[in-house]
Symmetry: C2
Subunit: 404 residues, 2 copies
C-alpha cells in the first residue's frame, strides 16, 4: 500500500479546477443549492450510475454524454431530483447544461448534470437558470467547499476529501466531494459524488479505476442494484499534473492512481455512512477468511444493512444473534458452525455459538462513535468491509416528513 498525503480541499484540490456553490432558491430560501465544477482544460471523464430501472433525467443525459470519455464541467442542483418528469425533465437537464456551456464558452456536450431532491416535481427553471449564471460567475479555486455545501440535502456535514502523491516525479492530486444520507437501507437515498484529479490518464483507464474504487467504497454502503433514481459518481481527470498519461491498467502508475482514487472514495463513502439520516454511530463490518470475495461482500453488506442490528447498535445491545442471522440471509455461503464474531476486541461467538463474554465491555464497544464488527468465516482468504450507521428515532422523524 502506498501512503497518500491528505491535503485540504475537495474538488478544487487538484490543479486546474475551479468550483462554486450558490443559493438559487430551488427549494429553501438562503440554502446553497446550485454547484458548478469546471476544468480549465478538457478532461478525461467517467461515471458510475444508478442501476434503478427508473433513472432521473440527468442520469440518462450523462450516460449518453460519457460515451465520449471527455467532459469539462458539471452543474448540480439540490432540492429537486428531476426524476419522473418525462420529456420536460430531459429538456430541463439539457437546458441546465446548455446554460452552463454558454456562460463558460464550451460545447454543451462537455457539461454533465446532476440533481438530487424530491422525485416527480417540475424543476423550477426560472430559479435554476439564473442560479447557474451566478454559480459560473463565482467559480474560484477556493470554491470547492461552497460546491460541497450546495449539493447537501438532509446531510448534516459537508463531505470532501483529497490526497496527494508523487507520480513520474510530478505531484498528482485526487479530490472529491459527496452527498448522501437516508441510510436505513443504505441504498435508497440519492448519493452523488464528484472526483477531480490533475492526473493524466486515458478515459478507458479512468473508467476502470473508477469502477474498482466505487466497488470498494460506495457499493459497500450502497447495495448493488438497490439504488435511487439519481445516484452517480463522476470523475474528471484534466492531466495538468504533467505525468506521462496512464494508458494501461497493468502499469505501476495506474495501480498507485487507483489506490489514491479508492482512498478518496472510501473516505467519502464512510462520511456518507457516518452521516446517515438520524445516525449517531458509524458501523464498520469486516468479513475475513471467506471462500470467495463475493461471499465476504454479501455478508458484510447484509449485516451493515440489517435494520434489526442497526437498531441494536443504537440501543447499545450486544445482540450478536442479529449479526449471524443477517449474514445467513445475505446470500453469502459459509459454514454457520465455523463462524467467529467480534464486537470491537470482544469475541462474542466462536464456531457459530455464543460465548460468555463480558457484557459491560461489549456495551462499552457499542457506546463508541465507531462500532467495528469482525466476522471470521475461517473458510478461505477473501475479505471485504462494509459501512453503515445505526437506526434511530431521528431517522423515522426525518423520513416521515421529508417532502412537506
Amino acid at each position: 500500500m502506498v501512503k497518500f498525503e491528505a491535503v485540504p480541499g475537495g474538488v478544487t484540490a487538484a490543479v486546474g479546477f475551479t468550483a462554486s456553490g450558490v443559493a438559487a432558491g430551488v427549494k429553501y430560501k438562503g440554502k446553497k443549492d446550485i454547484a458548478v465544477i469546471y476544468s480549465e482544460c478538457d478532461a478525461a471523464a467517467a461515471g458510475v450510475f444508478t442501476t434503478n430501472v427508473v433513472k432521473a433525467a440527468p442520469v440518462i443525459l450523462n450516460m449518453e454524454r460519457l460515451t465520449s470519455g471527455r467532459a469539462r464541467a458539471v452543474v448540480v442542483n439540490s432540492g429537486n431530483a428531476n426524476a419522473c418528469n418525462g420529456d420536460r425533465g430531459m429538456a430541463d437537464a439539457r437546458a441546465m447544461a446548455e446554460e452552463a456551456a454558454r456562460l463558460l464558452g464550451i460545447p454543451g456536450e462537455a457539461v454533465l448534470v446532476a440533481s438530487t431532491g424530491v422525485i416527480g416535481q417540475p424543476m423550477p427553471m426560472d430559479r435554476i437558470i439564473p442560479g447557474i449564471g451566478s454559480a459560473v460567475a463565482n467559480l474560484s479555486r477556493a470554491g470547492g467547499t461552497d460546491a460541497a455545501e450546495a449539493i447537501m440535502t438532509t446531510d448534516t456535514e459537508l463531505k470532501q476529501h483529497a490526497v496527494s502523491f508523487c507520480l513520474d516525479g510530478k505531484r498528482v492530486t485526487v479530490g472529491g466531494m459527496a452527498k448522501g444520507s437516508g441510510m436505513i437501507h443504505p441504498n435508497m437515498a440519492t448519493m452523488l459524488c464528484f472526483v477531480t484529479t490533475d492526473a493524466a490518464i486515458s478515459p478507458a483507464c479512468l473508467k476502470e479505476c473508477l469502477a474498482g474504487a466505487v466497488d470498494r467504497s460506495f457499493n459497500m454502503v450502497t447495495v448493488d442494484g438497490d439504488t435511487s433514481t439519481n445516484d452517480m459518481v463522476v470523475a474528471l481527470a484534466n492531466g495538468m499534473a504533467g505525468n506521462r498519461e496512464i494508458g494501461d491498467m497493468g502499469e505501476d502508475g495506474c495501480r498507485v492512481f487507483r489506490e489514491a482514487l479508492t482512498e478518496v472514495c472510501v473516505a467519502l463513502a464512510k462520511a456518507v455512512a457516518r452521516d446517515g439520516e438520524g445516525a449517531t454511530k458509524l458501523i464498520e463490518v469486516r468479513v475475513v477468511n471467506a471462500p470467495e470475495e463475493r461471499d465476504a461482500r454479501l455478508a458484510a453488506r447484509g449485516v451493515a444493512a440489517s435494520s434489526l442490528f442497526k437498531a441494536a447498535v443504537f440501543g447499545e445491545d450486544a445482540n450478536w444473534g442479529r449479526i449471524i442471522c443477517a449474514a445467513g440471509y445475505s446470500g453469502a455461503r459459509f459454514n454457520p458452525r465455523a463462524v467467529d464474531i467480534y464486537l470491537g476486541d470482544v469475541q462474542v461467538a466462536r464456531d457459530g455459538e455464543g460465548l460468555a463474554f463480558d457484557e459491560e465491555k461489549a456495551a462499552s464497544v457499542l457506546a463508541q462513535k465507531e462500532v467495528r464488527v469482525l466476522i471470521d468465516f475461517k473458510e478461505g482468504d477473501h475479505e471485504a468491509t462494509a459501512w453503515g450507521c445505526d437506526l434511530t428515532y431521528e431517522y423515522v422523524k426525518i423520513n416521515g416528513s421529508y417532502r412537506t
Copy 2:
C-alpha cells in the same frame, strides 16, 4: 373463487385437534410461553422452512422429520430461539419432542418442534421440560387461543383464523395461528405459523398446496431468501372430516382446499404485517398488468419493504416518488414511462409522471389504518399483492432493547 365461511377458533377449529398454552417462565414470569398442538389420530404433515444459511435446531429437526410426511403433534416455545446453540441445541430440540411424545404416548418422530426468541442463548430446559408436562396436561378443544397466545413475542395481538367449507358432502375446516413481528424488513423477525385441518389429503398434495399458499401469503410479507433462523409454516391434516382423500393436484377438491388454505394463510400474513413492531398502519401494495408474475411480485414486495416509503406512510406524506423508486430497484422489469400509481382511489402518477392530485384527499387516504397502493404497469396481465406496515419511532424503540 369459492366463498369460505369464517368460523371461530384457530388450530382447534378442525375436528380432532386439541391445543394448549402455558406459562413456564422461559423468559418472563407469567407470560404463556409453551404451546402444544395435538391430533387425535395420525396426520399428513408438511412444512415450509427458512432459507437462511443459519437454521435453528428445531428447523433442522423438523426438516428431517417431515420427510415422512406424517406427524401428530407440535411443541413450541417462545422466549428463546434455540439457534446457534450447536450440538446442545439439537439435543434440546430432540428432548422437547421426546418429552411431549412420552406424555402423549406417541413416537418421538411424530412430534415437531418450534422455537422463537433470542438467538444464541442456552435453552432453560429445567423450565421447558416441566412446561411441556403442564401443556400436555392442559390440552383441550378450547385451547387454541391459549396456544396462539403462548407463541407471541413482541406481537401485540393474538393471530388466529379459520374457515369452513363443504367437500364431498362433508364439512371441512382449516384453521391456523401465527406469530411474527419486527417488520421493517418484513423478513428479519421470526415468523411461525401452524395450520390444522380435518381434510383428508395425501402428504404430497398437502405439501404442494402449502407451498402455493405460503407463496401468496407469508412470502409476500417475507421476502424470499431473507428469512430469520427460525421461520416455519407447518400444516397437519388428520382426515377426520371424512372426505375422500385428496390425492391429485388436478382434482376440483384439491383446488378448493388450496384456496381455503391460502385464505387462512393470507389472513394470518396480513395480521402479521398489521402487527409489525411499532406499526400503526397496514400497507397493501397491489401491482397489476405486469409482464410476468415475477415482476409483479418483486415490485409489490419492493415497495412494501421500502423503509423510506414506510416512513412516509407513518408521516402521512403522499411521497409517491418513493413508490416508483422502490419498484425501480426491486428487480422487476417495467417501462418507467408507462406506470400509473394510485393511493387508495387517488391517482398520483400517470405514465411515470406526477399528477396535480388533491393533497388533502391523498393525506386522508394515508390517515387510514389500511393504506392501499395500486401500481399499474400497463404492460401485461399478471398481478401480485404484498403487505407491510409503516415505520415508526416505536419500531426503533422496541428493537433497540429487545434482548435486554
